[in-house]
């Protein structure tokens, strides 16, 4: 049992596979001839799903850890900057109904919880702006289509916090090349046709059609929805969350820009529909647009019609990909010597771009906590499972939050979403708490939190949630401190708007001149 863990076999070559293989290889200096070897087995015939096109700011750290140049990444992956999400028509469904979930914390977060002050000053009619506009300068940048940095800002540094929109297919290709050429990952193109294990249930090798048996000490299942190793072979059950998250279908299209200088939105646009919502992601050379909906509430024809209405005439030339969604995840993610990363571990509707961030968090955990030998692997596995069960649940809660605050009644979809029977108990408890206090960091005590309290603030107050500060008015006496923060935010807006280039302009310059590394 006390065999060192040195050969890691990653099965599956999508973004999840390459990110995990790359993180392990970089962390363990595989290229410098260390004891650890990383092999990635990829089917030459199965295409990748490739709709994960929105990231979190964590992707910047991930790319840095992989030793990737941001300039090259942007040039090769059709990437653009993303500064959060704009949620349109989620509350009332009216044309002017929108709010932002930016990627920056509210001004002075940690020093002053501004929610109460914002609420008070609005009641006293001293301010009229929304919570996100009053406390964060990022929405104003996004509304003007501005980039989060300058051409003179070094790689991975920012003026305003940012993530990326990217072409998932190109990103996989780019990662593959980098992992093989720079990080020493061995790439095997072969179809897995059998999985072999020892008496303890550990996987010892995978049998392939083209390359025979491939042995390893540890296996990473990145086989997508099929969950070949963890789900099919190790029989780990799937926990279905479709009772909470009612979406079960996606229609995805790619739409070219009207002309080559058309503005590129620097945020994801999510527009609520009758029984779901449409994502709109601006890359450099095209937009990725899709409709996720509940097939229990509207027909496919109706869903396509709504997507067509959203896009306009350009829709007629697009080919529509239909993707079934099963919101849920495996009961555990690491069993014996096999851990699942990506779609093989689970999938939730892409409302908050949680797919890639879960891949990054998993890859980081595996790379940095790689068990030295088989004897301690079960302990690592247990901790991994606890951590990620918690994270999946937190994400489900946060996604559900968007639905329960809606006031829409145009389809039973929205009414069903607000049915308490569909709301997780953990979220109900938080909602009860927030009736009398604004979300704060102490509401989230785990160091494995995915969404900070600030994110809950943006969604709650963006969607018109009312917290009753009647019992805590004594905490709102320092109005001067709050006013200073609001003033600081106004200055930040003016400065950012005056200095930042448009998203399109900066991306063009990065192609022409590149970003400096310092």
């Amino acid at each position: 049992m006390n065999k060192p863990v040195t050969t890691i076999v990653v099965v599956g070559g999508g973004t999840a596979g390459w990110l995990t293989a790359g993180r392990i290889a970089a962390q363990h200096n595989v290229n410098a001839g260390g004891p650890v070897k990383v092999m990635l087995v990829e089917s030459p015939t199965i295409p990748i799903i490739g709709v994960g096109e929105g990231t979190w700011p964590t992707m910047r750290t991930t790319l840095m850890k992989l030793g990737i140049s941001e300039t090259e990444f942007i040039r090769e992956c059709d990437a653009s900057f993303k500064q959060g999400a704009k949620f349109a028509r989620w509350v009332t469904g009216a044309a002017d109904d929108f709010y932002y979930h930016p990627l920056m914390l509210p001004q002075g977060f940690g020093k002053t919880n501004l929610v109460g002050h914002w609420h008070q000053q609005r009641q006293q009619q001293k301010i009229a702006t929304s919570f996100s506009v009053t406390t964060c300068f990022q929405e104003s940048i996004c509304e003007r289509g501005l980039a989060p940095k300058l051409i003179s800002t070094p790689e991975f540094n920012s003026v305003a916090n940012y993530a990326y929109h990217l072409n998932a297919g190109k990103f996989s290709q780019f990662l593959q090349q980098h992992c093989c050429e720079k990080l020493g990952v061995q790439h095997v193109l072969a179809d897995v046709i059998g999985i072999n294990n020892n008496g303890h249930g550990d996987i010892t090798s995978v049998t392939t059609a083209q390359a025979g048996n491939i042995s390893g000490d540890m296996f990473v299942d990145c086989t997508g929805f099929s969950s070949l190793l963890l789900g099919q072979h190790l029989q780990v059950p799937f926990i279905d969350h479709s009772n909470t998250l009612l979406i079960d279908r996606a229609l995805a299209v790619q739409i070219p820009y009207a002309h080559e200088d058309a503005p590129i939105a620097s945020h994801t646009i999510s527009t609520a529909q009758e029984a779901g919502w449409i994502w709109d992601i601006g890359l450099q050379h095209r937009r990725g647009i899709g409709h996720v909906y509940s097939s229990n509430h509207i027909s496919e024809e109706r869903a396509i019609e709504q997507l067509k209405n959203y896009i306009g005439p350009a829709f007629n030339n697009a080919s529509v990909r239909k993707i079934p969604i099963h919101c849920g995840h495996r009961k555990i993610f690491w069993k014996n010597n096999c851990v699942a990363v990506g779609l093989s571990a689970g999938f939730l509707e892409p409302l908050e771009a949680s797919a890639l961030v879960l891949v990054e968090l998993s890859a980081t955990f595996i790379a940095e906590q790689l068990p030295a030998c088989r004897a301690v692997m079960d302990i690592t596995a247990k901790r991994f499972n606890e951590t990620f069960q918690y994270r999946w649940q937190r994400i489900i809660d946060f996604l559900k939050l968007h639905y329960i605050l809606s006031k829409r009644t145009d389809n039973p979809f929205w009414i069903d979403n607000r049915n308490p029977a569909t709301i997780p108990h953990s979220l109900q408890e938080l909602m009860e708490l927030w009736r009398y206090q604004a979300p704060g960091d102490l509401d989230f005590t785990s160091n494995n939190e995915v969404f900070p309290a600030a994110s809950y603030q943006y969604v709650l107050y963006g969607m018109g949630f009312e917290t009753d500060f009647g019992f805590s008015s004594h905490l709102l006496r320092d109005t001067d401190a709050a006013r200073k923060q609001f003033e600081k935010n106004r200055k930040n807006i003016a400065h950012a708007v005056a200095s930042l280039p448009s998203n399109r302009e900066l991306l063009k310059k990065i192609h022409q001149y590149g970003l400096q590394t310092i």
Binding site: S152, T153, K509, Q516, I518
Partner: protein
Amino acid sequence: MLHFVALNDALHKDLKINTALIEAQGAYERMVPVVLSEYLKLIVSYPIVFTKNAETGKFISVALLGFDERENLFWSDSKWDSIYLPLNISRQPFYVGDEAGETIICIDSKSPCIARDSEGEPLFEPDGGDTPYLQRMKSQLSQLLKGEQETRVFINALLELNLIMPMTLDISFANQQPQRVQGLYTINEERLAQLDAEQLLRLKEKNYLQPIYTMMGSLGQIYALIQKKNERLGDA
């Protein structure tokens, strides 16, 4: 918009330049781009640093003239108070342009240095040849043109060896007013000390050690610049 016109001995036969106004063209520049071949002259007065071109993000070599926007501490009493005037000031109002791949000399037809009366340096002799003044300007422009290319190669060599690092100046002036100056870069001395023999030899063979040390030495001029600013604050 297009007021940079190619110099032409027929078109500009009677044009004269008021050389007394040339220095004033840099009166409100906080920094001026400089080239390798003038480093040894610059070090007498100016801190030589790198900054980024705001349009391209690329590093350029500059002489620092002030701390605030539009502040040139060498500009005092309507004259440039220094022994050496950087080429990018003294070559005004001439520019190097490009026409169908050919390098040509242009003049800023809207420059205030273009003499309005008969006073000033003529560009062409009555027989059409260049005046000694224009010859001098042409030679400065060619030094700049060659120098810009050399300086670019120099900067790329430094970047390759990670020898450039950001420099933040936290200055307290005599009136206690603190100021943080950002966006400047200099030689990373620590990294320079770590270079191996082969890397050092390559720098030596390209004659880069001298400008590297000149840049490092020139940083002492920041104190002189602070003093200039303090004197100015004292006068105010």
